[in-house]
């Protein structure tokens, strides 16, 4: 086969497979899909339809004693005494459209669109019209048995107390939409242009509160003053504002995790109902009802019963679970679980049943599998690069003689003198720090940890001084040194080789698990890299490629640890392969005028890499197996997922069995790919291959 294939196709090509193999693969995939069980579970709405027997728009609702009331267009009043299931109309004295209702202090009040207020004081009492202070009112709130606050367009605020209407003069002119009071004194009103007003004297005077950045032009349609430190408001474009400061200070926009940390639900909202410190119900047009248990971080969009087509206007909740919501065209829905979607058909799984165990475990296994493949992929690339670089350093022939030879002796001696000065300086600098560590005797072995900078200076100082002395003594003869019976030739020292040897010795003589913990927890390498990235390229965000690559600090630390460690081992393998290439190949490369690096790159490495594919494959398989240690730094790869599955299901044998099979799949696939790579890159006449 002479056709050239590129990229992945060089290793794997569907069309190159035999027909037998292709059919086999297709059949296996089909069987796997066919036998995987169908899931019979579904989700249903947590709301039920109540029979209201009216079709006017219902705009407001309130809980009054053991009754629930709903108010709508044309003076429509409905009441229910069985928690919202059945409703009856109540005769009304007006035909205006009711727009707002409130009940508190054993009174209930409603506001109609003409600005008239009706009040009912006691279950059996009649509705009493207490006047029409002004048109254009939008919301009312009771702040006492016989006192209430009205807010309306152009900043209008009216207070009713002691049978008198009083217009509250303020400097605010924005249209106000909603008002909510915690008690007789403390209240919040909200409106257009992010307006938030606060009072602590029963509405006699109002102060403005700063709207959070990003919501300064939002139309705040609903507010709830739930407790001294829990206040929520929503805007018509779906933003949730919250404050947890006394006096309604410091409003902020809730980042909605379930909407990808956006600050908007991307839904038009008309109203919120806060039923506990963090449980919020949302309503809006186009059949929208929402629900959050955690102050808006995660918002579930409620399913709506079939046949409902409305715009929801107001909730009335008896307690944190039971209540109703009303909407246009006479729609009333009731619930006993605050509207949360019901999961129908879910059973408590029996993890002693292997099928159900796998049902639970397979998603977690798959996540772990992907995570493992991800670190292994990067680890292999990284480890191989480091291995190649180290192997090149180790085989580099550059020695001190080569560096010095051919350069004027004066310059070498001047450099030598300079090195001695720098070296001694560094040496003392480092050494003086050691005494402050308070170490004694053999404890000095720990100085690299206690004073790493000092230790580096100390080491470099010694190296520079010795090198400087050698350079200074240079007379062009590069002769050996005799120290007693020992004969040394310092000119033969290969600095690159030394550096690589130091590196590999260190990484091969410390446990991988300790390297993981030192690099991730000790050096915080993952976090450092994230910080460095964020400071130069901006925030990583929560999706996209940069998040995938850098979003998790444990992942970054893990690929570095695996790569650095594997590189140290791969280096020896690659070095062996380089050594196996006949020295004549280097001579031949050099004889046509290639440089050392050019010959390495074009002649030696291409052959050496081919030779070392099998042993490098071993190292790579080792890397996959070693990746399980990444669990100690909290990376959610296969082994850690196995532990989590056990924590949930207690099925130790099955869980570890699944983990083992998953590892086998990864390593075996890798081995197959490498075998194929070896075949594809085989060159006639290079090495003994046993045929072919």
């Amino acid at each position: 086969m002479n056709s050239r294939r590129v990229g992945v196709e060089r290793i794997f090509s569907w069309s190159a497979l035999e027909e037998k193999t292709r059919v086999g693969i297709l059949v296996s995939v089909f069987l796997l899909v066919a036998i995987s069980p169908a899931i019979g579970q579904s989700t249903e709405s947590g709301w039920d339809i109540a029979e209201s027997s009216v079709d006017s728009d219902l705009n407001a609702a309130a809980v009054y004693g053991n009754e629930i009331w709903a108010f709508g267009d044309g003076g429509l009043m409905l009441s229910s005494s069985d928690e919202g299931m059945t409703w009856s109309t109540v005769s009304s004295t007006t035909t205006a459209n009711f727009i707002s209702a409130d009940s508190a202090y054993e009174s209930m009040a409603v506001l109609d669109s003409t600005g008239s207020v009706l009040i009912k004081q006691g279950q059996d009492a009649d509705w009493v019209n207490i006047g029409t202070p002004s048109e254009g009112m939008t919301d009312l709130v009771l702040i006492g048995e016989e006192s209430l606050i009205l807010v309306g367009d152009e900043g209008a605020i009216w207070k009713y107390s002691a049978s008198n209407w009083l217009k509250i003069e303020t400097q605010f002119t924005q249209n106000l939409n909603d008002v909510s009071f915690l008690d007789e004194n403390n209240g919040i009103a909200c409106g257009e242009d992010g307006t938030i007003l606060f009072t602590d004297n029963g509405g006699t005077s109002w102060d403005s509160r700063e709207s959070p950045l990003g919501a300064t032009s939002s139309n705040l349609v609903s507010v709830s003053y739930y407790s001294r430190v829990r206040m929520f408001a929503v805007s018509s474009n779906g933003e949730i504002l919250a404050s947890i400061s006394e006096g309604a200070q410091n409003w902020y926009l809730v980042e909605i995790e379930s909407e990808g940390y956006s600050t908007s639900l991307n839904m038009t909202l008309t109203s919120i109902e806060v039923v506990s410190g963090s449980k919020i119900l949302f309503s809006g047009p186009d059949n929208y009802l929402g629900f959050s248990k955690d102050g808006g971080n995660k918002v579930e969009h409620n399913l709506i019963p079939e046949g409902v087509d409305t715009s929801f206007n107001d909730h009335a909740m008896i307690n944190a679970f039971k209540g109703i919501v009303v909407g246009d065209k006479g729609v009333i829905l009731f619930t006993d679980n605050s509207g949360e979607n019901d999961q129908v058909g879910y059973e408590i799984p029996d993890y002693n049943n292997f099928g159900e165990f796998v049902e639970y475990a397979d998603d977690m296994m798959l996540d772990g599998f992907k995570a493992t493949v991800k670190i292994v992929g990067f680890g292999i690339i990284f480890g191989f690069l480091i291995g190649v670089i180290l192997a090149m350093l180790k085989t580099a022939p550059t020695n001190l003689k080569g560096l010095v030879e051919g350069r004027p002796n004066v310059i070498i001696r001047i450099i030598g003198g300079g090195l001695i000065v720098i070296g001694i300086n560094l040496f003392w600098n480092g050494l003086s720090g050691f005494s402050e560590l308070g170490l004694d005797g053999i404890e000095y072995i720990f100085t690299p940890v206690g004073d790493s900078r000092g230790f580096a200076k100390f080491g470099l100082g010694i190296a520079f001084t010795l090198l400087g002395l050698l350079f200074l003594s240079n007379n062009g003869k590069f002769s050996k040194m005799k120290i007693g019976r020992l004969t040394l030739n310092p000119w033969k020292i290969r600095p690159l080789n030394w550096i690589a040897t130091l590196y590999t010795d260190f990484f091969r003589n410390t446990p991988l698990i300790v390297q993981f913990m030192f690099i991730h927890f000790g050096l915080s390498l993952g976090m450092e890299i994230q910080d460095a990235y964020e400071s130069s390229f901006g925030a990583i965000g929560t999706d996209g490629f940069d998040y995938w690559l850098l979003g998790e600090s444990a992942f970054i630390s893990a690929i570095f640890t695996l790569g650095l460690n594997s590189g140290a081992y791969q280096c020896e393998t690659i070095r062996g392969a380089i050594a196996a290439i006949p020295s004549g190949q280097m001579e031949a490369g050099r004889s046509i005028g290639l440089t050392y690096m050019g010959t390495m790159k074009l002649v030696i490495m291409p052959q050496a890499i081919r030779i070392c594919i099998p042993p490098i494959g071993n190292e790579m398989v080792n890397l996959v197996l070693n990746s399980s240690l990444a669990m100690v730094i909290g990376y959610a790869e296969l082994s850690r997922q196995g532990r989590l599955i056990i924590a949930w299901t207690f099925q130790i044998f099955w869980a570890w069995g699944l983990v083992m099979i998953s590892y086998f799949v990864v390593t075996w696939t890798l081995a197959l790919l490498l075998r194929r790579l070896e075949e594809k890159t085989k060159i006639p006449g290079l090495g003994i291959t046993g045929g072919g």
Binding site: E405, G593, L594, R610, I683, G685, L686
Partner: protein
Amino acid sequence: MPEVVLSIRDLEKTYPGGVQAVRGVSFDVHQGESVAIIGSSGSGKSTVLRCINRLIEPTGGVIELVGTQINTPKANVNEIRSRIGMVFQSFELFAHLKVLENVTLGLRHVRGMSKSEADKVAMEVLERVDLLERVDAYPGNLSGGQKQRVAIARALAMKPEVILFDEPTSALDPELIGSVLKTIRGLADEGMTMIIVTHEINFARDVADRIVYLDHGLVAEEGPSSIINNPKTERMQRFLASMNEEH
């Protein structure tokens, strides 16, 4: 007399450990001349050859290529080597590259030619060594003689001022030697400047313009190829006699 391409004066090489392989060798190679270096094993033939393109660093003496000394630390060794071709005893073809790529490697990465230019030059030299039909083969699939001709083509492609042959036929089966010798003879006829280290006494006599006989790191006898028929020194007589016994 044509100009001197290569001049070697008092060449010395002492290996680390004290072995004196070359002890003051001097000779000149003129333009278009082919010089055969003969001598018994260990006489320093290969060392002299490798000193010329500095695969071995000489420890003493002067080597001049077209009047410029090349064994100084300042000389650009890669540039010098690209002007001196070398053919090895064991071919040393690049096993992972096809025949054509073996020849073009130096042209592209040393001379900086484009692929098409290099291919053109390579095809010309491969035609000269009569290997046009094997350009897409890997060295592993060639016979020894073909390999050595590829190696010659690789050296020729760089248009060197002199080519060094290091026992080019020693690793070949007797029946394959002919094609390589024919190729070298062809080059000599075309006026290529060559230095050939060889054990093929008859070939040396036929092809070489001049013979340098080395013994124990010294030039024991030097002269036109006719000295093989009438050696003056006793050592060379003994050497030639031993060679004849073998054949």
